[in-house]
Symmetry: C2
Subunit: 196 residues, 2 copies
């Protein structure tokens, strides 16, 4: 049930409609939390039923009206209460790691391609985080408490992307060394292995 709390956290910044929240979950928070618009609307209904948020219709010209949700006092309290509970470090559930565990049961080439795509992805992420960091904190210092949190979020993002990107490079090199020594064997080995 952390999605609800993530939404509450988003709403502390400013009241938003489901549509806006969905877009927020595509950008800032979306860097480490995915949720499509349906999950969000569903979660919003639940939160409203619980009295954690209140919806106010905002009439718009040129667009359909929207329901802008605001945190209630109960919502704030619930959020604060949730924030006081200890969190547990998330699992790194990663298909790639499973494949590495049984590396000799897989073809190396697709894995290498996968790793190259990852490397690009993580480098890209790193660059994006860096750009945001430079834009929001040109001097590297946060002025408010809220900014401090965002800075720390960027920092762990940067650290993580860098670490994983470096590992990808290492893994690609290692796999290249593994794939080369026996290129002749592989040709016969792919379609038929030791029929017992």
């Amino acid at each position: 049930m952390a999605l609800g709390d993530a939404i509450l956290a988003c709403l502390t910044e400013r009241p938003m409609s489901g549509y806006e929240l969905a877009k927020t979950f595509d950008s800032s928070i979306g860097f480490f939390w995915k949720a499509d618009h349906q999950q969000i609307y569903r979660e919003l209904s639940k939160l409203r039923d619980r009295g954690h948020i209140q919806g106010h219709e905002v009439v718009q010209s040129g667009k359909p009206n929207k329901l802008v949700y605001t945190l209630t006092q109960e919502g704030r309290a619930a959020l604060r209460h949730w924030g006081a509970r200890p969190s547990s470090p998330p699992m790194m559930k990663d298909d790639l790691l499973v494949r590495l565990c049984a590396l000799d049961s897989f073809d190396i080439e697709p894995l290498r391609a996968d790793l190259m795509a990852r490397l690009e992805h993580h480098r890209d992420r790193y660059a994006r985080y860096e750009r945001i960091l430079n834009k929001l904190f040109p001097d590297g210092k946060a002025t408010s408490v809220a900014d401090t949190g965002k800075l720390l979020g960027l920092r762990i993002g940067l650290r993580h992307e860098q670490a994983v990107a470096e590992w990808c490079e290492e893994a690609i090199e290692t796999l290249a060394a593994v794939a080369k020594p026996a290129p002749v064997l592989l040709l016969e080995d792919t379609s038929r292995e030791s029929n017992s």
Copy 2:
């Protein structure tokens, strides 16, 4: 449906019963994948229905008999096929990061405690990985393809734990600096904020 594939990957090492798999998921693979015994048994049934694994009863003395599962040719093929599909980098869904996004809506102290627990956790993990590394690869070199995969798994584990641990230290320091400047205000601020 990645749990099924993780089980298949485990079974490439050696045939195992559900009970043994559950314990495996508590140790080696369990570092980055959690599954209790029920999930495993349920998944095993599905895999057997699909013909990816075969169960053979093994009579035991002193214990109830057990059903040892072996990969079938279809299972191997399915696993290989799964391994050839591109993977997508996992989300870092972390409650802590959500809290950082709205840092000023939370109490700092529990967060700091949380971070300290995390720091310990990640250092612990790091030490465990290092111990395993030194035991399995005293010279830092893998000899077989399978070992190469395991080595790479350990490497990313080490890199990740180190990066996060370092970040935890940074975050703890930063939060300490944030919490101190206004200790007097916090006393009144916790129970009642700006009643609108």
